[in-house]
């Protein structure tokens, strides 16, 4: 039965196509059982290894509170106590997100976490960090208040001086809002998934003084 099905599938798809290639690629992304492992090496039992998942948790709260704010619109938090709560949740989750991410970065930097062919893990983390800063800055521009106006005029001078001001116009609140709620969160989300897959693929980096049997 299976052989007959295989013949039929081969007759239609030829055995090699994008679907088969993608399936094979996805099936080898991480070693079997490592996508959500329930055990880790003993050296992971350290507080410094906690800041990665704390960063991820804060990002989830930031995304959910941001989606909540999007339901009410940009002016909602100015006129509603519930909206103000959602705005505060969004602000403080982002504050914690950056604090945790920077401590995670310090830990991984002094651990030389790019060892053991983990360069792509490091690089995706760095790009995610820089993209997150851009996401936060466009968030400042989307507050719909005088603070946002002041920041946008200061940023405009800077971006004009390096030639970006014509197509990335910080004085255009609609463009900044869409970058903040669609484009940049999408990039941060994709980078986060790739970063996590790299961690699962290569395992958590051991400390510099770890022995092979630790």
């Amino acid at each position: 039965m299976t052989a007959e099905y295989g013949k039929a599938a081969g007759a239609v798809g030829g055995g090699r196509n994008w679907t088969v290639g993608l399936r094979n690629r996805l099936s080898t992304l991480v070693p079997p059982g490592q996508l959500l492992p329930d055990r880790q090496p003993v050296y992971v039992a350290s507080w410094i290894y906690v800041f990665g998942v704390l960063t991820l948790s804060a990002l989830v709260v930031a995304l959910l509170s941001g989606a909540w704010l999007a339901v009410g619109g940009v002016a909602w938090w100015h006129v509603s106590s519930l909206g103000r709560f959602a705005n505060s949740l969004h602000l403080w989750s982002v504050e914690l997100f950056f604090a945790f991410m920077v401590i995670h970065l310090w830990g991984k930097f002094w651990m030389a976490a790019w060892r053991g062919k983990r360069a792509l893990t490091w690089i995706t983390g760095v790009i995610a960090f820089v993209t997150s800063i851009g996401t936060a800055f466009t968030g400042y521009l989307s507050q719909s208040n005088f603070d946002a106006q002041w920041i946008s005029t200061q940023a405009k001078d800077g971006l004009n001086s390096i030639g970006f001001g014509a197509w990335f116009n910080v004085l255009n609140p609609g463009q900044m809002l869409l970058w903040h709620v669609v484009l940049l969160p999408f990039v941060v989300g994709v980078l986060t998934v790739v970063h996590l897959l790299q961690v699962r693929r290569h395992g958590v980096v051991p400390p510099l003084d770890a022995e092979a049997g630790d």
């Binding site: 070693p31 490592q34 055990r39 880790q40 090496p41 003993v42 992971v44 039992a45 350290s46 507080w47 410094i48 906690v50 800041f51 604090a99 920077v102 401590i103 310090w106 830990g107 053991g116 062919k117 792509l120 693929r201 290569h202 395992g203 980096v205 051991p206 770890a210 092979a212 049997g213 630790d214």
Partner: protein, 69 residues
């Protein structure tokens, strides 16, 4: 005079800043950065609950994954 008084009030509410040559930082931001440094040091030094106990955790799984690009 009223405008000047308003400016004084606004600057008084802007918080305090510390200056070292070309470096200027608000006291609040400096305290937050120092707090993060303290948190980092504590995370490195403080023992994790359960650390050091016998474990059946896998032996350095990276060894079988090092060959992956």
């Amino acid at each position: 005079m009223t405008a000047l008084a308003a400016l004084d009030a606004a600057s008084a509410g802007a918080g305090s800043y510390l200056h070292w040559g070309v470096i200027s930082i608000s006291t609040t931001n400096l305290l937050i950065i120092l707090g993060m440094v303290v948190l980092f040091v504590l995370a490195v030094l403080l023992p994790f609950p359960g650390a050091g106990e016998p474990s059946e955790a896998p032996r350095v799984p990276e060894q079988r994954q090092e060959d992956r690009p």
